[in-house]
């Protein structure tokens, strides 16, 4: 009996690697620390009532962002471990199998558990405030989306210490990801972690589409929508059409592994290339999903910090919609080398190049907005300005990759790695950082001090170029991706070494950011932000910081793109809005179902990972019961009475 238990444990837990024992200890200590702090300060009830069961979009947004920063840390540590290995290729710091796991988890986490939730966090915090709404269209579903993402991400991360990490790359191509080549459970963790959080992403896409269509303030016509909200809308369109493809693709892969189907296997008629087409039919749109909101953030910031209306509003909107459309017709540029023939390759090369046109339009619009503006160099604006040259270079190397015959040379080399990191870091991450700095006071009610933020900015940026510019070169010299070691005779070492230095500089940049936030939290009482600390232009700046739970005491109007700016001009001329007339506000009640249901999804996922059918069925039954419980509950909302609104507004406005 004991023997059998031991044997089980040695397979269940990942053993044999000191790094992993270190992680085990760290995880154990963290859990004990969290539990004891919560118990000591008697905060369990607070946690449950204010966070775990909340349906308030602002709190959900904050939880998304916190989770994504933790994931940025994990993905970043993975990145640094890889860079360390590549700087000393013969030291065996990471064994090849371990290296495979690390690049797989790094890529998956960065895209799906860092970029996506960061983006959803910004959606949640800002979109309802920008369109003058009290919440999103479906607050309950919104909470469910968050918890599905969170527990999906936890399931994925668990693979590090239990069962073993996936190691077939961030898109897990078969046949490598099939049972025949990856018999362990790591691949199942990959499938279920993404699957569970993917359902949440799809729901969020639908939720925000309905919110933007139906809940805009009176007067806010489509062409009066703030640009960030437009970017969210275009992104949600892509989510709606792309995420079901991912869901099916992963489901089919799982059926191959679990139920013995032959969709992508090498035997009995399976077709692995089918998977690669399908996954990129989601994967390419996915990169536009994460970058469009960053474009939206930059548009807001450029206009606010240049104190000018955004140049070319309509062309911005059309550029975004055209990008969402074209993003579905470029997927095959990821495998020009597959051998689909010159005609097919030519088609996909052309569509890819076409996307550069609307993107170029946007860059010019940002530049023209800044032209002759009164520019203020606060941190959000600095990230925005740094983004522009970075994205231009990243975009141009992208066009180079899209030249199909040339891609036979660049394909899967470090040239590609440098390209996509340049657009993902320079575009997506810089954009979300800019957004976080910009909306920080709105989220938390206090300002961050700029000094540490500027240090972070410079180390990140210098680190970025030091890290990735050498990779273009080393790629052209023939170094391929997913390589954990190379010989001295290749001549690649110097460039790799420089690149690693750059990576660590970015790590230092991250530490500066953590310090900046910690410092801000420590001194938050002295850093109190007004409702409108940046002299903003859109409606979110018209209410106190942080926003009260009902957002707007009276529904605002949205007759202009820069409604709040116009309002301030009117007030300066002495035209004041009429005294507000308060009415009771209709609010959704908190619910524990999203959290509990997601825990059941986690249980089901875990059961499927290990092929324990009883556990999977138990989890799915729990999910079903939660759904029925929700369908039968009718007592889901309440009203905030006028007195309470008056009291809240008086205390908030009084201090502003």
């Amino acid at each position: 009996m004991l023997e059998r238990l031991k044997e089980f444990a040695s397979e269940f837990f990942v053993t044999g690697d000191p790094l992993i024992y270190g992680a085990d200890v760290a995880i154990g200590i963290t859990i004990i620390a969290i539990v004891s702090v919560l118990t000591y300060f008697k905060k369990w009830g607070w946690l449950w009532r204010n966070w775990l069961t909340t349906v308030d979009h602002k709190k959900i947004g904050i939880m998304y962002i916190i989770a994504s920063i933790i994931m940025l840390f994990r993905g970043g540590v993975d990145a640094l471990m890889m860079r360390l290995q590549l700087a000393m290729p013969n030291m065996d710091f990471l064994h090849p199998e371990h290296y495979n796991q690390v690049f797989t988890t790094h890529g998956t986490i960065m895209i799906l558990f860092m970029a996506m939730p960061f983006m959803f966090g910004l959606f949640n915090v800002i979109v309802p405030l920008q369109i003058g709404a009290r919440d999103v269209a479906f607050p309950f579903l919104n909470a469910l989306s968050f918890w599905l993402f969170f527990l999906g991400a936890m399931l994925f991360n668990l693979s590090f210490v239990i069962g073993g990490s996936p190691d077939a790359g961030w898109l897990s191509y078969p046949p490598l990801s099939e049972l025949s080549h990856s018999p362990g459970v790591g691949q199942n963790f990959y499938i279920w972690g993404i699957q569970i959080s993917g359902i949440g992403s799809l729901a969020t896409g639908i939720n925000f589409m309905v919110t933007i269509i139906k809940m805009r303030a009176p007067g806010m016509k489509w062409m009066k929508l703030p640009m960030f909200t437009w970017s969210v809308f275009s992104t949600c369109i892509i989510i709606l059409f792309a995420f079901p493809i991912l869901t099916v693709t992963l489901a089919l892969l799982f059926l191959d592994r679990f139920a013995g189907a032959h969709f992508f296997t090498l035997d009995l008629g399976g077709n692995p290339m089918m998977y690669i087409n399908l996954i990129w039919m989601w994967g390419h749109p996915e990169v536009y999903i994460v970058v469009l909101p960053a474009f939206g953030v930059f548009s807001e910031i450029v206009s606010t910090f240049s104190r000018k209306k955004l140049f070319g509003y309509k062309s911005m909107v059309f550029a975004m919609l055209i990008i969402s459309f074209l993003s579905f017709f470029t997927w095959a540029h990821h495998f020009f080398t597959m051998g689909s023939g010159a005609d097919v390759n030519a088609f996909f090369a052309v569509t890819t190049m076409l996307i550069a046109i609307p993107t170029g339009v946007k860059v010019f619009n940002w530049l023209f907005t800044m032209y002759r503006g009164r520019i203020r160099m606060a941190t959000p604006m600095m990230w925005t300005i740094a983004f522009i040259p970075c994205f231009i270079v990243g975009g141009m190397t992208g066009v180079m990759l899209s030249v199909a015959p040339a891609d036979f040379q660049f394909h899967n080399s470090y040239f590609l790695i440098a390209h996509f990191h340049q657009v993902l870091i320079g575009g997506v991450v810089f954009g979300y950082f800019a957004g976080l700095y910009y909306w920080w006071p709105k989220m938390f009610g206090f300002q961050l001090e700029e000094k540490l933020g500027k240090w972070a900015f410079w180390t990140w940026n210098i680190g970025f170029y030091v890290c990735f510019m050498p990779q273009y070169a080393v790629g052209l010299m023939g170094m391929t991706r997913r390589l954990s070691t190379y010989g001295w005779d290749t001549g690649w070492w110097e460039l790799n070494f420089v690149s690693t230095i750059g990576a660590f500089l970015m790590g230092v940049g991250f530490l500066f950011q953590v310090a900046q936030i910690a410092d801000g939290i420590r001194k938050y009482k002295t850093l109190k932000a007004s409702g409108d600390p940046w002299d903003g232009r859109t409606l979110e700046w018209s209410i106190p910081s942080p926003a009260p739970e009902y957002n707007f005491a009276v529904t605002p109007r949205g007759d202009d793109v820069d409604e709040w700016w116009e309002e301030k001009e009117r007030r300066a001329k002495g035209i004041h809005p009429p005294e507000p007339v308060y009415e009771p506000i209709h609010m959704p009640k908190n619910s524990s179902i999203p959290f509990i249901m997601s825990v059941f999804w986690f249980v089901a996922g875990f059961g499927f990972v290990f092929g324990w059918l009883w556990m999977a069925i138990l989890g799915l039954a729990g999910v079903g019961i939660c759904m029925i419980a929700r369908s039968f509950s009718y007592d889901t909302d309440y009203y905030i009475p006028v007195d309470e609104i008056k009291r809240t507004e008086a205390s908030l406005r009084g201090s502003v």
Partner: protein, 206 residues
């Protein structure tokens, strides 16, 4: 208390506070978007089926196993159930709860009949050596048709749940919204079946 709050929620559609958005209307719109995503889901399965349909790896071939009379009976049951679900909505719009529930029961029975026939068809095929793991083609067939069947099953459970809610609460704005949504869903499954019938069955035997 709960009752009172529920009443409040029901009146809310005729909004007095933030007036301009009606929750039921938003739910229907959201559900349309969900249906779009479901269309994509089925499209991918159809595409997979079309790519893999001839990859039988020397095993049985689907077109030899299709028995058209059974398929026609299935079609008949499902189309009729779509019609009766429409009648249920008509009854609801005239405010007749009893009739509404009765039509829903008939719809559910027809749906269950469809499922029973489908499962019988599947079992027969497995007996003939065409099982889930036989080949890429068989797996693609069962997954595509089975996903539709799964949708029908979930719809049935949901419909039964709604019958209880109707019994308890009658026709209110909230229950009306729910019935509108499920009838939309049911018609959608019908449309998907028409595609299955054409692409999987008719094109298979022809």
């Amino acid at each position: 208390m709960a009752q009172a709050a529920a009443k409040h929620g029901e009146n809310h559609a005729h909004g007095h506070d933030h007036g301009h958005h009606d929750p039921q209307e938003m739910k229907i719109l959201g559900f349309w978007f969900f249906l779009i995503s479901d269309v994509i889901l089925f499209s991918v399965l159809f595409a997979t089926f079309i790519v893999l349909r001839d990859n039988t790896a020397g095993g049985p071939i689907l077109s030899d196993l299709i028995k058209m009379p059974g398929v026609i009976a299935e079609t008949f049951l499902l189309l009729t159930s779509s019609f009766t679900s429409g009648l249920a909505v008509l009854a609801m719009n005239q405010g007749k709860v009893k009739q509404l529930i009765n039509w829903l029961i008939i719809t559910a029975v027809l749906g269950a009949g469809f499922l029973a026939l489908e499962i019988y068809e599947f079992v027969e095929m497995v007996h003939e050596g065409f099982s889930y793991t036989t080949s890429a083609a068989s797996g693609a067939f069962f997954t595509l048709v089975g996903t539709h069947g799964l949708h029908v099953s979930l719809g049935l459970i949901w419909m039964i749940g709604l019958m209880f809610q109707l019994k308890k609460r009658g026709i209110t704005d909230v229950t009306r919204g729910k019935i509108n949504v499920i009838s939309l869903y049911w018609h959608f499954l019908d449309v998907v079946w028409i595609f299955l019938l054409t692409i999987v069955y008719l094109m298979g035997v022809m």
